[in-house]
């Protein structure tokens, strides 16, 4: 069946699972609490069910722009590297806090991807200066402290 090979079709099943979870969890609440989650979850389940069944019967009508570099398709190693960098950022920020993690990420990413060291350092320092002097100093935004700092305290 062509639908089974379609990523779009499988994503529909994943969203259906979220809808089912929402409906099941809400069933323990009172009428006022579960009214709207049941409505929204029911709508989601109905739409996903119809999408799944129609997909099996008639195929999935989806159009995704193919990812490509200037030299052809995106190499798998480069794709994994990009995903890895994004994951590193979202792990580093809660762990070290914005003030440390963000400039560190900017420097590491640029240096590791072939930018000159002085440029990487300059951009990282400028980022740190913006966070420290503008956001914290002028606008008085209290950026969240890293979990590591909390544990060490």
């Amino acid at each position: 069946m062509p639908a089974l090979r379609s990523f779009t079709w499988w994503v529909g099943l994943g969203l259906g699972a979220i809808g089912l979870y929402a409906v099941v969890v809400a069933s323990e609440w009172g009428v006022g609490g579960r009214l709207f989650p049941w409505f929204a979850g029911g709508l989601l389940l109905a739409a996903v069910l119809a999408h799944t069944v129609l997909g099996l019967a008639r195929g999935v009508d989806s159009e995704v722009e193919p990812e490509a570099t200037e030299g052809g398709p995106v190499p798998r190693a480069w794709r994994l590297k990009v995903y890895g960098w994004v994951i590193v950022l979202v792990l580093l920020v809660p762990l070290l806090g914005h003030l440390v993690a963000v400039p560190l990420f900017v420097f590491a990413f640029m240096a590791a991807n072939g930018e000159r060291l002085w440029l990487s350092a300059a951009v990282a320092v400028a980022t740190l200066a913006f966070l420290y002097f503008v956001l914290q100093g002028v606008v008085h935004v209290d950026l969240p402290r890293g979990l590591l700092a909390e544990w060490l305290r």
Partner: protein, 352 residues
């Protein structure tokens, strides 16, 4: 009305109406996270994670859904934002000509924006997406929407710009703030001794018009600044992705954290970044999802009030509700009907 907005949002889905409706429903579900407005009990707090009790902030959610997939795409392509070499800066006059050519769309979306501004709680995001949705739904050729169609820009910008003066009206005339910034302005009114109401429409009409002119002049100054700085702003499109992408990513993480300055913001940014990327790669529309989140709070509270007051009979006893139901049915049926006219044998496939 919220449901009608959602169905219109769902029909923005382009290729699949069902995927649009499913994403709008998912947005409604996400809007229920936090303390339920009608019971006061926390919903979907994942084992008493207190961050979720105030609901999921819109900033990390929107940044994750829309910006993360774009930055990942920029990095994967290994090219600059603009794929063409930088030419002399131009296009100001053609932009003006485009706006004049689509003057009727500009007018309609400005009316949508003004009305959205007058309704307390709707705000700029709803005006923007409703304007965009109207442009998509009313266009004969929808193929270029999402790929740089100028009508999408004109619709969203005119609606969001018109929303601001629209929100002034209920604030000045009735003392009902249309959005958060108007609530702040209302506070300033009281500080300097102004009393919103009929007085502002009679004795102090000059002050009311002063506010209108401030909005006009501020927009003219902002447009002038943008035109003056465009040569330098365009250069961003030609910065190498290995320099630009980490800066954008870093500032997105910072921007996400400004919502509540809690680590949870970063987690939400990551979660919705992943969801946004999956949706983009799998052709599941993201716009209906955002509209679902925005309208969900209103829909939840009014559904509860209606059911409490009238029971389920409000769905077939009230003439205005019946009218809205007819409009919802029409909004659902029209895309299918148009698809059927285009390709009679293929319209069921277009659903999925």
């Amino acid at each position: 009305m919220s449901l009608l907005g959602l169905v219109m949002a769902g029909s923005l889905a382009g290729r699949s109406l069902l995927r649009g409706i499913a994403m709008a429903a998912l947005g409604l579900l996400v809007s229920t996270v936090g303390f339920a407005q009608n019971t006061g009990f926390p919903s979907y707090d994942l084992g008493r994670w207190t961050y979720l009790w105030d609901g999921i902030p819109i900033v990390p959610l929107v940044l994750g859904m829309f910006a993360v997939p774009e930055v990942i795409d920029l990095l994967l392509r290994r090219g600059t934002i603009s794929r063409e070499a930088m030419q002399t800066v131009g296009g100001v006059y053609s932009g003006f000509a485009d706006t004049m050519r689509h003057w009727w769309l500009l007018f309609r979306c400005s009316v949508i924006g003004t009305v959205c501004g007058m309704v307390p709680g709707l705000g700029g995001i709803v005006a923007e997406w409703l304007g965009y949705g109207h442009a998509v739904n009313s266009a004969k050729d929808k193929s270029m929407f999402g790929k740089g169609d100028v009508r999408g820009v004109i619709a969203a910008e005119s609606a969001t710009s018109a929303q601001k003066p629209g929100s002034v009206l209920p604030t000045v005339a009735f003392g009902i703030p249309g959005n958060a910034s108007m609530a702040v302005m209302l506070g300033v009114f009281f500080i300097i001794g102004l009393k919103p109401g009929p007085e502002m429409m009679n004795e102090k009409l000059d002050l009311t018009f002063l506010m209108v002119w401030i909005v006009v002049v501020a927009n003219v100054i902002a447009a002038g600044l943008c035109l003056g700085l465009q040569r330098w702003m365009i250069m961003i499109c030609f910065i190498r992705p290995t320099v630009l992408a980490p800066i954008i990513l870093a500032f997105m993480v910072v921007g996400a954290a400004l919502a509540t300055t809690d680590v949870g913001d970063v987690v939400m940014f990551a979660v919705f970044g992943l969801l946004g990327y999956i949706c983009r790669r799998a052709d599941w529309p993201r716009v209906p999802f955002i509209i679902g989140v925005v309208l969900g709070h209103l829909a939840e509270i009014y559904l509860f009030i209606s059911v409490e007051r009238y029971g389920i009979s409000f769905t077939y006893n009230r003439p205005i509700v019946i009218l809205i139901e007819v409009l919802i049915f029409a909004a659902l049926a029209m895309p299918l009907y148009r698809r059927f006219l285009r390709a009679p044998g293929d319209y069921v496939r277009g659903m999925s």
